[in-house]
């Protein structure tokens, strides 16, 4: 006889295991950059119903899970309006990402998520949105752009301005899409590279902060900036945005910290009382200012 | 040892006043019996907190690694030998240091004392050679020599080997001690017994790494157990991983360990991992006639080839 109430037994089925990834198959791999360190992986869920469960918003991330190697938190690069797959752009850096770069189409692995919060889309409705991105931190911004310019959503937002920079033209992500977006008149694109010797380069040359200063709209009550990039870019972009009149509650950033669980339990990604994995990764600069900024 | 404390304060104040050093590293009185806390002093007032008694078992050489300041450091025999090793291994420069030598008659073993009295140890005081313990079960006194840390009981380098100031006259060195009785016992075991012995020795290990981190030799920026690319050792409580950690750490200390006992003292569950390091220490003595940290003038055996190095274990 069990001494416990029988109700406890069915508890096991009630708890979904948040550590269990959805099984996925690698459907496509695109080498994004000339140094071959960035690849975009397109995944298809093995079980169709899992795709519905993986209901995400632009700005969220997921744990890519490779049995035998471990997990790595990566921003979701595909957009909720794109159906049938999810997409991640991964920089080759650590154990898991290096292994992932060696995997091939058809391989089975796992995705755990969606995790974290997202860009505040409800709040951004009716507003002008400036997106500032640098390097390979452009992934969730791609997700956001695709989401915003989707015919079903475009009318919800005011002006959309994008400043995106990389070291060289060959280091830009999603080049074909960038060119497409450049052609559109409902999105104001400013692509830039730190330097290039390509005589045919017809876009900007220069670091992201000065290009932002030159091209971005003035900040006002109705304008929000979303900034994703390497620390150095963020450091120099912040004063530019301040100068343009963006208040700290209108500067939105996505933070990164070392993570394991992704669900707020393992304890390592905190900045003060906030957990980057669960309370973030998206914070306004105003919120970040209240934390010890340990990121 | 009250006069040791006074003398350390006196020297420290002078060194700070004369700007010979930027800081003094010593101990301050602990908040629980038989514990002192490594501490630094930058001003004359800070200095008044410094103490010295038989509870200064943590090796202060550990606090010198890669520091840039000019430092005055209190050093008993083993500390001074690890300071020598630190200097040889370029972890600190001799010119940065003013070594305040402390002749040492050994540190007391907090676990041993806890085991010898009834109830919880509440207060421990000392006269020159006597340790007085007040516990929840009553009062007891011990001769200090009866309750020394195991490594101190067999120590043969109680006086600092290198110093700039001395707080007292050197103490007589112990000459009639058998340093390796315990090691010989293990050497006499057959492989089965030895395997079982170490299995038992490490069974309580929680991998907190206090032994490693209390060790002045373990200053690697990334320890092999923490290395991820590639990962050498599993991170779980698997006994083989635990043993691998202790075993390899000991090897990394071969020819460098001074048997200061900081590892054993730091261990929260009381593991005597010195049984590994002492064997290596004994081998270095037997094979290369080497004792670590005695002089700044020669290189440790694993760092240096001599044509007369023994080779009889090499086939």
């Amino acid at each position: 006889m069990s001494a416990l109430s029988p109700a406890i037994q069915d508890r096991e089925e009630l708890v979904e295991n948040p550590y269990l990834p959805y099984p996925v198959r690698i459907d496509d791999i695109v080498v994004e950059t000339e140094d071959r360190n960035l690849k975009t992986f397109k995944f298809v869920f093995l079980n169709e119903q899992d795709e519905k469960k993986f209901d995400y918003h632009a700005g969220q991330f997921a744990e890519l899970s490779i049995p035998g190697k471990g997990e790595i938190p990566i921003g979701i690069a595909s957009s909720p309006v794109e159906k049938g797959f999810v997409m991640f752009t991964v920089n080759k850096a650590g154990v898991v990402t290096t292994h992932l770069h060696n995997m091939k189409v058809g391989d089975i692995m796992g995705i755990r998520g969606p995790l974290g919060n997202w860009f505040p889309w409800e709040m951004l409705e009716g507003k002008n949105v400036l997106l500032v991105g640098g390097g390979f931190a452009f992934t969730t911004l791609r997700s956001s752009i695709v989401y915003m310019i989707d015919p079903a959503n475009r009318s919800k937002f005011g002006n959309i301005t994008v400043v995106y920079g990389a070291r060289t033209p060959g280091m830009l992500l999603y080049k074909n899409e960038l060119i497409e977006w450049e052609k559109r008149d409902d999105i104001d694109m400013h692509i830039t590279v730190d330097a290039t010797d390509d005589p045919d380069w017809k876009y900007n040359v220069g670091f992201v902060p000065p290009v932002t200063e030159e091209k971005a709209p003035q900040g006002d009550e109705n304008t929000y900036a979303i900034v994703c990039g390497p620390p150095i870019m963020i450091k120099f972009t912040q004063p530019v945005l301040e100068k343009l009149g963006y208040t700290h509650d209108r500067i939105i950033m996505s933070l990164e910290n070392r993570m394991k669980c992704g669900i707020g339990m393992c304890g390592r990604c905190n900045i003060g009382r906030e957990l980057v994995c669960k309370d973030g990764p998206v914070f306004t600069l105003e919120q970040i200012n209240q934390t010890p900024r340990e990121y | 040892m009250v006069n040791y404390s006074d003398k350390i304060r006196e020297i420290s104040k002078r060194l700070l006043k004369d700007c010979k050093v930027d800081m003094i590293i010593g101990f301050r009185k602990g908040s629980v019996p038989m514990m002192n806390e490594p501490h630094f002093a930058r001003t004359a007032e800070d200095v008044d907190e410094l103490v010295w008694d038989s509870n200064c078992g943590i090796n202060l050489a550990n606090y010198l690694t890669d520091r840039k300041e000019k430092i005055g450091v209190a050093a008993k025999g083993c500390d001074s030998r690890n300071i020598v090793t630190h200097i040889l291994e370029n972890k600190i420069k001799r010119e940065q240091l003013t070594i305040i030598g402390v002749p040492c008659k050994g540190m007391i073993d907090k676990r041993k004392i806890a085991g010898l009295v009834e109830g919880e140890v509440l207060e421990v005081t000392e006269d020159e050679e006597q340790i007085n313990v007040k516990s929840s079960g009553g009062k007891k006194s011990f001769k200090k020599t009866e309750v020394l840390q195991e490594n101190c009981a067999v120590c043969i380098h109680r006086n600092p080997v290198v110093y700039d100031e001395m707080v007292a006259e050197p103490v007589p060195e112990q000459t009639d001690v058998d340093r390796y009785e315990d090691v010989r016992k293990i050497e006499e075991m057959d492989p089965e017994q030895r395997w079982a012995y170490f299995d038992d020795l490490f069974k309580e290990c929680i991998r907190c790494y206090a032994c490693r981190n209390a060790c002045p030799l373990c200053y690697c920026p990334t320890c092999f157990v923490d290395e991820a690319k590639p990962q050498w050792v599993g991170k779980s409580q698997d006994p083989i991983d635990i043993r691998t950690f202790h075993f390899l750490r000991a090897y990394h200390c071969a020819g460098r360990c001074t048997d200061c006992g900081a590892c054993q003292r730091a261990c929260p569950v009381g593991i005597n991992m010195r049984m590994l390091t002492k064997k290596l220490e004994k081998d270095c003595k037997d094979l290369y006639n080497w004792e670590a940290g005695l002089t700044l003038d020669s290189r440790p055996p694993l760092d240096f080839y001599r044509p007369d190095d023994p080779e009889d274990f090499i086939k």
């Binding site: 406890i8 009630l14 550590y19 009382r273 340990e294 | 630094f40 907190c208 923490d226």
Partner: protein
């Protein structure tokens, strides 16, 4: 995920199992103790303090072994009973010829009922604090929760606390009942048991201990006598009012506190309320498993990024994180007091004598000064 529903159900169940029973007090003649344990073994795995070499640890109690209640506290806290230091989460095969290649499967585990006998009230309260981390509105940690639900916590009141115990000022106490299903107190040739929950009631029934006793007075007097004996305290009243950033920014204070730290994991591993963990994959041949191990905010690699950047790269930052988490962030986040129950293990076991009581007082004082400055 239908987390809302899960959540409601969980709360219902907790309320059910934790609802106040009639606070029955039962007497257990010590002559019946071992017999009762044997009866319990039919329904529970029993765990209790056992002395190994020097210290007491929680161990499974095989037939014929009774828990050893002659102890102050166990060396390692009771958290490992629901949250083992190393725990398998999933297993999988890397053999590409297998159907289930690369698919993670939950490891089968024994979640049959177990009872821990002789857990101190501080450790039991700590389990409740840790639960705040593993049982949240958004996510439930199934491993922790299943183990927790399978466990009946049979506490042993603390009649001779240590000099390092400061439970009474850490939101706890030697007769504290939070987190317990039964509270035992030694009463000469018998134990008296306060039955606190339905789980506890079932446990007592299974043991055959049902003889009611009028022993409320034993608990009352025992409680005040034990509380009298707690000589060590912390001040926590002003922590809440302290300004996080000002406190965090007091580098001088943190340097003084952290100087002696050697960055070992002792404090975090022996602590009953520290819950941080690491997730690791291990492969043997083609068989792999994903496991989690306790981790420590004291270890530099805890927070290091793949780029090598480390937001808490210095020991000052790490020591500050540990104390800020326990005594400030947690206080602000959960409004459940400090993340410490005053068991004193870290005080006793820190190799370099960093004393949380001192740190807590320093932090609290800082809060006061700050508040005064604001008011003044």
């Amino acid at each position: 995920m239908d987390s809302h529903r899960i959540n409601q159900l969980t709360h219902q169940r907790i309320n059910q199992s934790r609802r106040d029973t009639d606070m029955k007090i039962v007497a257990i003649d010590k002559k019946d103790w071992e017999k009762g344990l044997d009866r319990l073994r039919e329904a529970y795995r029993l765990i209790g303090p056992v002395k190994e070499d020097r210290y007491h640890y929680f161990r499974e109690l095989p037939q014929g072994q009774a828990p050893d209640f002659d102890f102050f506290n166990t060396r390692i806290s009771a958290k490992e009973i629901v949250y083992p230091q190393s725990e398998d989460l999933f297993e999988y095969t890397l053999d590409e010829t297998k159907e289930d290649y690369h698919l993670l499967k939950e490891v089968e585990k024994d979640y049959s009922p177990k009872a821990v006998l002789g857990i101190r009230p501080c450790d039991a309260k700590a389990v409740e604090l840790v639960k705040l981390n593993f049982d949240t509105d958004d996510y439930k940690d199934p491993y922790w929760l299943r183990a927790w639900e399978a466990t009946t916590f049979v506490g042993l009141a603390c009649d001779s606390p240590c000099s390092t115990c400061f439970c009474t000022t850490a939101g706890c106490g030697p007769y504290h009942e939070e987190g317990l299903d039964v509270l035992l107190a030694d009463d000469g040739d018998r134990y008296v048991a306060k039955v606190l929950t339905e789980k506890g009631e079932n446990f007592m029934k299974a043991a055959g201990w049902t003889e009611g006793a009028e022993a409320e007075a034993r608990f009352e007097s025992g409680k005040s006598a034990a509380e009298e004996k707690i000589v060590s305290t912390v001040s926590t009243e002003k922590l809440r009012s302290a300004d996080t950033l000002a406190l965090h920014g007091n580098e001088e204070m943190w340097e003084d506190i952290s100087f002696s730290c050697i960055n070992c994991g002792t404090c975090t591993f022996v602590c009953p309320t520290c819950w941080c963990f690491d997730i690791q994959d291990e492969v043997h041949g083609k068989q792999g498993r994903r496991m989690r191990n306790w981790d420590s905010c004291m270890f530099p690699i805890f927070t290091v990024h793949t780029t090598g950047h480390n937001p808490r790269g210095t020991k000052l930052q790490r020591v500050r994180q540990r104390f800020m988490h326990k005594l400030k962030y947690f206080v602000d986040k959960y409004d459940a007091g400090i993340m410490c129950v005053g068991c004193g293990r870290c005080v006793q076991q820190c190799p370099v004598n960093i004393d949380i009581r001192r740190v807590c007082d320093l932090m609290d004082r800082y809060g006061a000064t700050d508040a005064c400055a604001v008011e003044g």
